[in-house]
């Protein structure tokens, strides 16, 4: 009753002790009423038990209501019985009433007849914790304890029975509450949208299709996500749907409202409001409704669910976008505000249960695993935060709906504005110093304690007893108790939490501080096991256990050292713990553990123990190395050469933690250099051919991180590492391995020599095959590798022939930014081949690329703009195509305001291509391209200078642009570009200057800034384009001079 009252009953939000008048409360009150009323008759003995404190409230009863059992004197009423101290068990002086037993409570209720409910309500409102008053402040646990220890007093026994009765009532009440809440589960526009999107992807034409069509009756979406007209939104409606199934006639007209989905009679006329009347039962979601209405649908869904294997949730090291979840949550909140007020209130009311039961596609449903990659994002993210799921389903469009809406750009603007908000989200990047693999860890999660003590398992009590023994035992007994604790299944969460809850962790950690080695060993053996639980890890850190463990590392007993290191390895799974290890000098000590002599040749028992110590040390370092500062500390403690030595060890169980640490640390430049110079690449490559997938994965991952460096890439090739990498591509089942392998291939393929090797091993064909049905971690790398390989023209043909272009284009509609950067690069590379371009054009990919310019991530913007350049160059009717993108030209010109240099360079390059078409040039001139380009001219960045000069050169050819550029003052900076060291800048600049020199005033400016000398030098260049441009420019200047002279001497 306690829990139900404190949690489930809905108290008036104003804070006053008043119960709200809701159906749930009513149901619970009547249950309490029934219980109390019958209590006297059912349990006469317990009913006589005197409460520790009386229940007091203001009653509406009067003396006249009472009968003979009571002493009535005037206004006041007293019971005949009284307790030990002579107080009457019932005492009424209107309006106050005091009651001491259940017996009188039930009498009272029987007397009050039609006012029963009121009485109960008043009583509960005045006594918010009746349990405490009835049984005293003792909790159930204390009672049980006493019960266990003491001889059973008759009164105690009664108390126990009463407690049990009350507990039963409590459970009943909670069941009522939960039942109510589950029935009340509500739909939100986001959930409906998500579901409709999924249903749409089931529509098709083939035999196996599930539905014929799904469409909304209205395409207009209100700002709150609803589609129904506002007057019907008042009734909680969200939208109406028309679904054609394969077997039901006629088509189903469905209304989705916040209470559920139901059939209506269809639209006969827009005005006829009655047509929206409910025609069927209300179902909780669309799928359930369809399952009920269409046997075909139900059948197919089940079949598909069986066929599909649940896509595994897994994470890998790269590009886990932490902020994303936060953002979606945020936008969800925002959206929620727009939901009609009424719906929202209800939403708030059923908070405790609703969380479990937000509307979400059932798991089975999700596992249908539609081809699009966004599903996987969803699954993964859902794992992180259940609540963001609905929003995601809403936010990211499935391919089906996307293709429809892609035509107008405004669609993406929604996404754009939402994401641009994200950039502003606080929680800066500054404190994000952890390395990428942070994803796999447990950050603060809510503590899950058992609410009641009644349903504790047997183990709990046994463990409690043992911990009690521990406290009172000498060393001999302690060791035995520790051994017996280890006999519990410590991997089981109940045991782990039991140890914590009975204060076992404190004792165990205290034992670490003793001198007794055996106690320490026993305690560590237990701690090592239980700290696989994240709550335990936290508790250990909070109790200062890590410090002690770190100091144990100095011990001379090797077994003890091993255990301490292993425990540290298990505990240091979260940031604070890792910091703690470092701050207490743990890193240095752990690195010292690595210092064994693994010559391998003669392995005595002693060496074996040394190796074990080193292995445990490496394990601990591996855990610790997830923090950037720790990586630095390991390096400073001289860990790198030691790790290099361990890397040559023949034992696999030694190699895994060593390579694991290295690959973790390889995110730091200093490590990458060290890995290269210490000759570790050779060992890494060697272990790629190991038969242990975990080892292979870590090696591949280390290579992935190290191969940023050209020399490393060459080394991998020299040690014949490319072949095993390509072989590993066949291990498509192990996604983590696959992600690491493809990552390594991607980075290695940055060197052209390596690409040649990959061609030889037919890696491209395999990679193209991996473009489908892979998790994003893999896709990013695969596409990256393809993008690099595509820099060689003959590979472009290969990619096309293997059918790689279509899946690449499909990836353009994803949301993963790293993936988008790589995809755009790959598509851009593909577009350099005319035949490929025909395919790309056919798939309308340029439009997709263009819409990516709206992506909030500057990298994506830049990459998309770069990709657009070859597309415009090679597309057949490029000018017409570009014009067909509504608002496209304005969009790209606006990007010239970007603060990002790479975006600017890429956009300039794209503008140079666009400006080849005169009509388009006219349009962008209208959008003010000239002053915007002019404002960029003062840059020092050679890349930007080159493309900027190109863009200026192109844009000069329209109307008075040439003069406008001069007026905007671009000439002088351009002249300075000639002093740059980059010959490509020279060429572009010379061309721009040549175009500008067509205006005499520009010639004068150029001359004033000393353009002639460098131009004359450039006429002598070997680059013909440069020669010609420079010469023409000088000619124009000279021409002006001649004309001037002519005029003067006339």
């Amino acid at each position: 009753m306690g829990v139900a009252l404190s949690r489930a009953v809905q108290w008036d939000s104003s804070g006053a002790d008043k119960l709200e008048n809701t159906p749930l409360n009513k149901a619970m009150l009547s249950e309490i009423l029934l219980f109390t009323e019958e209590f006297g008759a059912r349990h006469p003995q317990e009913a006589k038990l005197v409460f520790r404190e009386p229940l007091q409230w203001k009653t509406s009863l009067e003396a006249s209501d009472f009968k003979t059992e009571y002493d009535i004197s005037g206004e006041s009423v007293m019971s005949q019985e009284s307790d030990k101290e002579g107080r009457p068990l019932l005492h009424l002086t209107p309006p106050d009433i005091t009651v001491y037993t259940f017996h009188h409570l039930s009498n009272l209720l029987q007397l009050s007849e039609d006012k029963k409910m009121k009485e109960v309500q008043a009583c509960l409102a005045a006594n918010r914790d009746p349990l405490k008053k009835i049984l005293g402040s003792c909790s159930a646990a204390v009672l049980l304890e006493e019960w266990e220890e003491d001889e059973l007093g008759a009164e105690k026994e009664l108390e126990m029975k009463l407690l049990n009765n009350l507990k039963e009532l409590d459970t009943k009440l909670l069941n009522i509450a939960v039942g109510q809440i589950t029935r009340e589960g509500r739909l939100s526009p986001a959930a409906v949208d998500g579901e409709v999107d999924q249903l749409k992807s089931f529509c098709g034409t083939g035999e196996s299709r599930v539905l014929k069509s799904v469409r909304y009756t209205s395409d207009y979406v209100f700002s709150n996500g609803c589609r129904s007209p506002p007057w019907r939104q008042m009734d909680g409606e969200i939208c109406s749907l028309i679904i054609e199934t394969c077997d039901t006639e006629p088509t189903l007209f469905i209304t989705c409202s916040t209470t559920g989905v139901f059939l209506h009679e269809g639209l006969i006329g827009d005005v006829d409001e009655n047509s929206y009347k409910t025609k069927s039962n209300v179902y909780q979601d669309l799928v359930t409704l369809l399952k009920n209405k269409s046997p075909h649908f139900a059948q197919t869904i089940i079949e598909q669910a069986i066929q599909e294997v649940p896509s595994e949730k897994f994470q890998h090291m790269e590009t886990v976008d932490e902020q994303e979840t936060g953002q979606t949550l945020r936008s969800y909140d925002r959206r929620e505000k727009n939901v009609p007020e009424k719906a929202r209130q209800q939403h708030v009311q059923d908070k405790p249960g609703a969380r479990m039961k937000k509307f979400e596609p059932s798991l089975k449903w999700k596992n249908l695993g539609l081809t699009s990659s966004y599903d996987k994002v969803e699954v993964k993210k859902a794992g992180r935060s259940g609540e963001s799921k609905n929003t995601l389903a809403h936010g990211s469009k499935s391919p089906a709906s996307d293709s429809k809406k892609r035509a107008n750009f405004s669609e993406t603007s929604l996404q754009g504005c939402r994401s641009s908000q994200k950039i502003k989200t606080p929680g800066g990047a500054d404190d994000f110093i952890e390395s990428s693999s942070e994803g796999e860890e447990d950050e603060e999660q809510p503590d899950r304690r058992a609410e009641t003590t009644t349903d504790l398992p047997n183990e709990y009590w046994q463990i409690q007893k043992l911990v009690k023994y521990l406290k009172g035992a000498n060393q001999t007994a302690t060791v035995i108790v520790l051994c017996s604790l280890r006999d519990f299944n410590l991997v089981q969460e109940t045991c782990q939490l039991a140890i914590r809850d009975v204060g076992g962790l404190e004792v165990l950690i205290n034992l670490l501080d003793t001198d007794e080695i055996r106690c320490k060993i026993g305690s560590l053996k237990i701690l090592k096991e239980v700290c696989c639980n994240s709550q335990i890890r936290r508790a250990i850190v909070d109790l200062g256990g890590l410090q002690t463990m770190v100091s144990i590392l100095d011990s001379s007993d090797k077994e003890l050292k091993c255990l301490a290191a292993e425990t540290i390895a298990n505990v240091a799974k979260f940031r604070r713990a890792r910091r703690m290890v470092r701050q207490h000098g743990g890193i240095k000590r752990l690195v010292e553990l690595l210092n064994c002599v693994p010559d391998g040749a003669s392995v005595g028992a002693e060496q074996e123990r040394d190796m074990e110590v080193a292995r445990c040390g490496a394990l601990a370092l591996w855990s610790c190395s997830k923090s950037t500062r720790n990586k630095e500390a390991i390096r400073r403690a001289g860990g790198i050469p030691l790790l290099a030595r361990l890397l040559r060890s023949p034992q696999k169980n030694m190699l895994i933690p060593a390579v694991g640490t290295l690959q973790e640390c390889a995110s730091e430049r200093s490590y990458r250099i060290a890995i290269q110079t210490e000759g570790m690449i050779k060992d890494l490559v060697k272990n790629l051919s190991s038969d242990n997938q975990e080892l292979q994965m870590h090696c591949a991952s280390a290579i992935f991180k190290c191969a940023e460096d050209k020399q490393t890439r060459d080394l991998v090739r020299q040690y014949n590492g490319l072949k095993p990498l390509v072989m590993l591509l066949n291990e498509a089942e192990n996604k983590q391995l696959l992600a690491a392998t493809t990552g390594a291939i991607w980075k290695c393929s940055i060197s052209m020599e390596n690409v040649a090797k990959f061609q030889e091993y037919k890696a491209l064909e395999t990679l193209v095959g991996l473009l489908k049905d892979q998790p994003e971690e893999v896709l990013v790398n695969v596409v990256g590798a393809l993008g690099e390989c595509a820099q060689i023209p003959e590979n472009l043909v290969t990619i096309r022939k293997c059918g790689g272009i279509q899946p690449l284009i499909n990836l353009l509609i994803g949301t993963n930014q790293a993936l988008l950067v790589n995809v755009t690069r790959a598509v851009g590379a593909c577009a350099t081949h005319p035949e490929n371009m025909t395919i790309i054009d056919g798939l309308d990919a340029v439009r997709l690329l263009w819409s990516l310019l709206k992506n909030p991530n500057p990298e994506v913007q830049a990459s998309a703009a770069w990709a657009i350049c070859p597309c415009i160059e090679n597309a057949k009717d490029a000018g017409e195509m570009v014009r067909s993108f509504v608002g496209g030209l304005e969009l790209i010109v606006k990007l010239l305001k970007s603060p990002n240099k790479d975006v600017l360079a890429s956009v300039c390059a794209a503008i140079a291509k666009i400006a080849k078409d005169v009509e388009n040039l006219a349009v962008i001139t209208d959008h003010g391209v000239v002053p915007m380009l002019a404002s960029l001219t003062n840059t020092m960045d050679d890349k930007l200078r080159r493309y900027l000069a190109e863009a200026i050169a192109r844009c000069c050819t329209w109307g008075s642009n040439c003069v406008s550029f001069g007026d905007a003052g671009v000439v002088a900076p351009l002249v300075r570009y000639l002093r740059s060291k980059d010959p490509l800048v020279h060429q572009a600049t010379a061309r721009a200057l040549f175009q500008l020199s067509k205006d005499p005033r520009n010639c004068i400016t150029m001359h004033e800034h000393g353009v002639v000398k460098p131009l004359v030098d450039m006429i002598g260049s070997t680059d013909e384009v440069l020669q010609e441009a420079a010469a023409s420019c000088v000619a124009n200047i000279r021409h002006l001079a001649l004309v001037y002279d002519k005029a003067r001497y006339r």
Binding site: E149, K465, K468, Y469, K471, G472, A473, N474, Q475, T476, A477, V479, I480, V481, L482, C483, S484, R486, D515, E516, I517, R518, I521, G522, S556, D557
Partner: protein
Amino acid sequence: MSAMNRKLIQNLADTMCKQVKHFNTVEVECLIRLFNALLGEQTERKVGHGLDRLNFRHILHNTFDMTDDMMMDRVFRAFDKDNDSYISVKEWVEGLSLFLRGTLEEKIKYCFDVYDLNGDGYISREEMFHMLKDSLIRQPTEEDPDEGTIFNTKHFIIKYTCDCCYDHDGKVSYADFKSTVREENLLLEAFGNCLPHLKRIQSFEQQAFQEPQELH
């Protein structure tokens, strides 16, 4: 006298070195010297037999940090192989060989002998109870008179140890003990501390072997 003595000791060390494992001649020699030195502290008339119980317990207590009376007695008996209540040079060196450098197997055997109070080849319930009777320190807070707990603990421990050991006949044979300890090394000294700590071993060795001159 001194020269002759030295020669004697060397000869003795040579012969003993062949009989005792884990020590080389120099180390044995050091131990003999130490033994002689300890004997010197003893009253004259007992010298002929070797170290007596009192003296030995003194060593156990001071050098090896053992505190439990009964256990020290049992350790004395384990050292004193011929049961003459004195520890001879040979018994001294042999005992220390186990103390300082014994293998797990040797230690198991030794511990079992220590715990088998009546020497019948089994550790019985009664023996366990006897050995563990002091293993619980009474809690200082008398407000919680947890007498029951202490009693329970003892019973629990005995029950547990019996359960650990394989045949559930209420007593532990050598074979039972051996297999249990092999499985969980921590249970080697299950019924009382009868082996020195690593730290004590190290300091003893350092003292005995590296500074032989001072002892003389």
